[in-house]
C-alpha cells in the first residue's frame, strides 16, 4: 500500500467510525475481590462493519459489549457511539440487543414477541422502524412465517433463537449487539444460524458487534475479529477477514478460511500461555 492510499484510508476510517472506545477500563468488586474485567481497551468500529469479539470466558467481551450499549458504566476511558455517550444512544433506541438466551415473553405469540421491543419506549428512535410487511418478510427469511401465532413454548430452542434474532432486526436499530446468541444451541443448528444471521444482516444492514467463543463462527460472520485475553480483560490482536461477501458455507473449506482459523487459534493460545506464565 502506498503512503497516499494509507492516508486516504485513515481519513475515511475517522469519518466512518461509529463506535469509538478509547482506554476503557472496568473493574468489578464482588465480596471484596476486585476483578479487572477490562483494562485500557481501544477499539473503533466502522459504520456497517461486522466485528466479532473472540476470547475465552472472563476476557471481558460481554463487558465490552455492555459498555458500548450503555448497559454498564465504565470506570475510566471514553466510549462514543456516533459521537455521543452510549447512554444517550440507548435512550434513542440505537441498539438492538440479542442475549444468549432467547428471552422471549412466554405470554406473547411469536409475532407479538418480535414487535415487543419496538413497542417499548415508542417514539424515542430517530430512525425508521420496519413496518409490518417487512417484519413478516424477516420472519419468512428465518422460516417462521407460518409460526406467527405460535407461543414460545411450542417452538424448539433453535426456533426461539431465530425469533430473538428477528426481534432485534425488527427494531431497525443502526447497531446490533449480540452476546453469544448461539452458545446454547447444538452444533448443527448453530452452523445454520450463522448464515441466517448474515442473511438478515444483508437485508437490513447495520453495524454488528458479535460476542462469541467459537473461532469458525467469528470468521464466517465477521469483517474483523477482535481477539481478547483475560486477567486483565484486554484486546490482544485484531484479525481482518478477507472472505468475500455474501458468505457461503463452502467457504469454510477454503484455504483462506483455514488460514484464519490457524492464525486465530495461535493468537488465542499465545495470550492464554502468557496468562498462565504470569
Amino acid at each position: 500500500m502506498t503512503v497516499a492510499s494509507t492516508i486516504v484510508n485513515d481519513v475515511r476510517t475517522q469519518a466512518d467510525t461509529l463506535v469509538d472506545v478509547r482506554g476503557a477500563s472496568k473493574t468489578f468488586v464482588r465480596k471484596g475481590a476486585r476483578t479487572n474485567a477490562l483494562d485500557g481497551v481501544d477499539l473503533s468500529v466502522r459504520r456497517g462493519e461486522f466485528v466479532s469479539l473472540l476470547g475465552p470466558s472472563g476476557c471481558g467481551k460481554s463487558t465490552l459489549l455492555r459498555l458500548v450499549g450503555g448497559l454498564l458504566e465504565f470506570d475510566a476511558g471514553i466510549v462514543l457511539v456516533d459521537g455521543q455517550p452510549p447512554a444517550a444512544s440507548r435512550r434513542q433506541k440505537q441498539f438492538a440487543l440479542v442475549p444468549q438466551s432467547p428471552a422471549l415473553l412466554p405470554w406473547l405469540t411469536v409475532r407479538q414477541n418480535v414487535g415487543f421491543l419496538t413497542k417499548l419506549n415508542r417514539g424515542a428512535e430517530g430512525h425508521r422502524t420496519p413496518d409490518e410487511k417487512e417484519v413478516q418478510a424477516l420472519l419468512a427469511a428465518v422460516g417462521l412465517d407460518q409460526f406467527g401465532g405460535a407461543f414460545p413454548h411450542e417452538l424448539s430452542g433453535g426456533m426461539q433463537q431465530r425469533v430473538s434474532l428477528v426481534r432485534a432486526f425488527a427494531l431497525g436499530a443502526p447497531i446490533l449487539l449480540m452476546d453469544e446468541p448461539f452458545a446454547a444451541l447444538d452444533e448443527i443448528t448453530r452452523a445454520q444460524m450463522r448464515y441466517l444471521l448474515l442473511e438478515l444482516w444483508e437485508r437490513t444492514g447495520g453495524t454488528v458487534l458479535f460476542v462469541t467463543h467459537s473461532i469458525p463462527e467469528a470468521i464466517i460472520v465477521s469483517d474483523r475479529v477482535v481477539v481478547m485475553a483475560a486477567r486483565p480483560g484486554r484486546i490482544s490482536a485484531i484479525e481482518d477477514i478477507h472472505l468475500d461477501r455474501p458468505r457461503r458455507d463452502d467457504m469454510e473449506d477454503s484455504a483462506q478460511f483455514h488460514g484464519h482459523v490457524s492464525r486465530l487459534r495461535t493468537l488465542l493460545r499465545d495470550s492464554h500461555d502468557a496468562e498462565v506464565q504470569r
Binding site: 441498539f95 422460516g143 443448528t189
Partner: protein
C-alpha cells in the same frame, strides 16, 4: 427437541416440524371420558360411603344425618339457603377482593424496595401464624358489630398469600428480558405493566386458589362473632345452639358448594389468561 425447520435460504420452503397444538389422549375416547370424570368419583364415593355407614351403624339423624337427608333438607327450604348463602358468598367475595387489592399493592411496594420487603415480611408472617379465631373477637370489639368486622376478618385471612405471591411473581421476570427492556430504555411503568404484572399472574392465581377457602373461613368466622343475623356462619351458630343438625350440615354443604363454584370459576379464568403457562399444558 430437534430443529430441522431451519432454512438457509429464503427460497427454501420451511418444513413444519412441530404442530402448533399437540394432540393428546393416546388411550382413546373411553380413557379420556374416565379421566374427565375422575374428579367426580372421589366425591361421590365419599358421600356413598358416608350414606352406607350411617345406615349400617344406625347413627341417629340428630347425631349425624346421611348425605341424602341433608340434600332433601336443602331442597325443602331452598329460599333460606339461597338468601344466607348469597350473603356469605358476597362477604367472602368482598374480603377476597380487598385482600387482592391490598396484597398486590403491598407486594408491588415490597418488590420495588428491599427495605419495605424486609420491613413487611415479619408482619406478614405474624398475620399468618396468629390464629385468626383468637383475635376475631378483639376486632369485633374494636370495629363494632355488623359488616365491617366480617370484611376485615375475611380480607385479613387471605391477604398474606396475595402479598407474598405477588412479591415473588413481580420479581420473577427473566433478567435477560429486563436487560432487553433496558437496552431500549423502557420506562419503569412499561417494565411494571408489560413485564412484571404478566410474570406475576401465575403466582396470583396460585394465591387466589388458596384464598377462596380462606375468604370463606373469614366470612363465617366474622358472622360468628360480629352479631349479624344473616349468612351461613350465623346459620351454623344458630343451628348449633338449637341442636338442629340438619340445618348445621345443610349450611356446611352450601358453603362447600360456594367454595367449589368459586374454585371452578378461578380455574376457568386461569385457563383463559394463562394459556401460555406450563401449568396449563401437561
Amino acid at each position: 427437541m430437534t430443529d430441522t425447520a431451519v432454512s438457509t435460504s429464503a427460497s427454501t420452503r420451511p418444513s413444519r416440524v412441530e404442530t402448533v397444538s399437540g394432540p393428546q389422549s393416546p388411550g382413546g375416547g373411553g380413557r379420556a371420558l374416565a379421566m374427565a370424570l375422575a374428579p367426580v368419583f372421589g366425591v361421590v364415593g365419599f358421600l356413598l360411603l358416608w350414606q352406607l355407614l350411617v345406615a349400617a351403624l344406625h347413627i341417629p339423624r340428630y347425631q349425624l344425618p346421611a348425605p341424602w337427608d341433608i340434600v332433601r333438607h336443602l331442597a325443602s327450604d331452598p329460599g333460606y339457603y339461597w338468601t344466607n348463602g348469597r350473603r356469605t358468598a358476597w362477604e367472602a367475595f368482598l374480603g377476597f377482593g380487598l385482600a387482592l387489592v391490598i396484597g398486590v399493592a403491598g407486594g408491588a411496594l415490597m418488590a420495588h424496595s428491599r427495605f419495605v420487603d424486609r420491613a413487611l415480611q415479619p408482619l406478614a408472617v405474624l398475620i399468618q401464624v396468629t390464629p385468626i379465631i383468637a383475635y376475631a373477637p378483639a376486632i369485633v370489639i374494636w370495629t363494632g358489630f355488623g359488616l365491617k368486622p366480617v370484611l376485615i376478618l375475611a380480607s385479613l385471612v387471605c391477604v398474606v398469600p396475595f402479598l407474598l405471591n405477588s412479591v415473588t411473581g413481580l420479581r420473577a421476570v427473566d433478567p435477560s428480558v429486563l436487560e432487553l427492556a433496558r437496552s431500549v430504555d423502557a420506562s419503569r411503568r412499561e417494565v411494571f405493566w408489560r413485564l412484571r404484572v404478566p410474570s406475576a399472574l401465575p403466582y396470583l392465581f396460585a394465591a387466589a386458589r388458596i384464598s377462596v377457602g380462606l375468604a370463606l373461613i373469614g366470612a363465617v368466622l366474622g358472622e360468628f362473632f360480629s352479631g349479624v343475623s344473616k349468612g351461613l356462619g350465623y346459620s351454623v351458630k344458630f343451628a348449633q345452639s338449637r341442636n338442629i343438625s340438619l340445618q348445621l350440615w345443610g349450611s356446611v354443604f352450601v358453603l362447600a358448594l360456594i367454595g367449589s363454584l368459586a374454585t371452578v370459576a378461578i380455574g376457568a379464568l386461569e385457563r383463559l389468561l394463562l394459556r401460555w403457562h406450563p401449568s396449563q399444558h401437561p
